[in-house]
Amino acid sequence: MTDNGHSTIAPLKNVAMCGRALDRAMTRPQHLPGMVCFYGPSGFGKSFAAAYTANKYQAYYIECKSTWTKKAILAAIAREMGLVPATTMYELTEQISNTLVMTDRPLIIDEMDHIVKREAVEIVRDIYEGSHVPMLLIGEENLPNDLVKWERFHGRILDFVPAQAADAGDAKVLSKFYCHKVSIADDLVTEVAKRAKGSIRRICVNLARIEEETLSAGKTEMDLPGWMALKKGFWTGEAVVRKEYVR
C-alpha cells in the first residue's frame, strides 16, 4: 500500500464513538450534564481513541496513577494546563476551574478507576461544577458500576459509551499505517481481525509482523494463502502491557 497522507484513524469504531461522545458533550444544551464516560477492557484501543480525540480537540489530558492522592491529582491537572500549581486543594480546584472556563479545550481523564478507588470522585465533580467544561472520563469495564455508588456524580454524566471489540473494518483502517510498504489482501485482513478476538493491540502486532515477514520474503504483497504458506502463524498472546510510571 502506498503512503496515503490523508488517512486517519477516525474511522476506527472506538475512535468514532469516543469522538462523538465528546462532541455531544461539547455541543449539549446548557441544562444537560457535560461529562461522558468511555469504558472497556484493556487492549480495545481506548488509548488510541484517547490520543485521537485529545489531538482533535486539543484537549488537556491527564492519566491518573494508583499512588496519587487527591492533591496530587489536582496538581497534575494544573501542571498539564501549564499552570504553577497552587498550594491548597481549594486553591487548586479554583485555579483549574477558572482556567478551564477561559479556554475552549475539554479535559480528558484517563484511568479514572484510580480516582474511584481513592474515593476522590468529588474532586472531579468540583472541577466540573466550577467550570462546566466538557469532560471525557476513560476507564475499565467496571467504571459505570463503580460510579453508581457516587449518585451525585453519576447524575452529571451525559452518556456512558462502551468500547467495542475491533472488527475487520478496523483492521483495514490500521493496515494503512502498519502495512504501508506492502499490500495486504482483504482475506488476510479479515483473518487477522478474527484471530485478534476484538483486540486492537493484537491486530496492530500482527499487521506489523505481516509487513516485516512479507518484506523479508522479498515480496510486496500478501494474502491469506500466501501467509499460511509462510507458516508464521498469528500472534494471539495476552498482550497485557503494564503501564509504566512516566514522569
Partner: protein, 194 residues
C-alpha cells in the same frame, strides 16, 4: 514574552480599549498592534465599536473606534490576517501528546494516533521527531529499524519539545536547550534531513 502574548495580556486586562491605549501600555509599533487587533476582530474575539464624538479623544489619542473583548482565552490566540487560526506546530504538538498517552509505541502507532482530519502528520516528520527525541533522552529505544519500540521516559510538560532549525532540541517546558547538551562538543556527524 512574545509580542503576541504581551498584547493579549494587555487586551485581557483592559477588556474595552482603543488602539492608542494599547500603544501607551506596550512598546510596540502601531503597525504590529493594528494588525493583531484587526486579525482578532476577524477571528471573532474582539468587537469593533464606534466611539461617541465626545469621547473620541484629542491629538495622539484621537480615535473613532474602540474594541471589546468578546471571546476570551487563556493563551494568546495565534491568528492570520484573515482571522483563521495558525496551525504551525500543531503536528509536533499532536505527536508529543500521542507519545504521552501511548507511552510505549513504534513509528506506525504514533503515525496512526497523531493525524486528524484537520491536520495530517507526515510519516517522515514523525521519524525525524522520534530520532531527535531519542537523542535528547526523552525516548528509550528497544529494537532496531522501523519496528523499534520506544518508551517515553522523560515527560517534561505539556509543550512539545521543538527541533530548531540549527538542529538542536529546545524544551519549552524547561525553557532550555536539551540537545546537544551544553557541555557536549558537537560531533560533526552528518545529521539526517529534517
Amino acid at each position: 514574552m512574545s509580542t503576541r502574548e504581551d498584547l493579549w495580556k494587555q487586551i485581557r486586562a483592559l477588556g474595552i480599549f482603543t488602539i492608542p491605549q494599547l500603544l501607551e501600555t506596550t512598546s510596540l509599533d502601531r503597525t504590529t498592534v493594528d494588525l493583531y487587533v484587526r486579525s482578532l476582530v476577524k477571528a471573532g474575539r474582539l468587537k469593533k465599536e464606534d466611539v461617541a464624538e465626545s469621547q473620541a479623544g484629542k491629538g495622539v489619542y484621537a480615535t473613532k473606534y474602540r474594541y471589546r473583548l468578546i471571546r476570551d482565552a487563556l493563551e494568546a490566540p495565534r491568528v492570520r490576517k484573515d482571522g483563521s487560526e495558525v496551525t504551525q506546530g500543531r503536528g509536533r504538538q499532536n505527536m508529543w501528546r500521542s507519545m504521552r498517552i501511548l507511552k510505549r509505541f513504534d513509528l506506525a502507532t504514533i503515525w496512526a494516533a497523531s493525524g486528524t482530519e484537520d491536520h495530517q502528520v507526515a510519516r517522515e516528520e514523525i521519524k525525524t521527531y522520534i530520532l531527535f527525541l531519542a537523542r535528547a533522552g526523552y525516548l528509550k529505544k528497544t529494537g532496531e529499524g522501523e519496528k523499534a519500540v520506544y518508551m517515553l521516559v522523560r515527560y517534561t510538560g505539556p509543550k512539545a519539545p521543538m527541533i530548531q532549525r540549527i538542529k538542536q532540541v529546545y524544551d519549552q517546558n524547561l525553557k532550555a536547550v536539551v540537545w546537544p547538551h551544553p557541555d557536549q562538543v558537537p560531533t560533526g556527524k552528518k545529521e539526517e534531513n529534517e
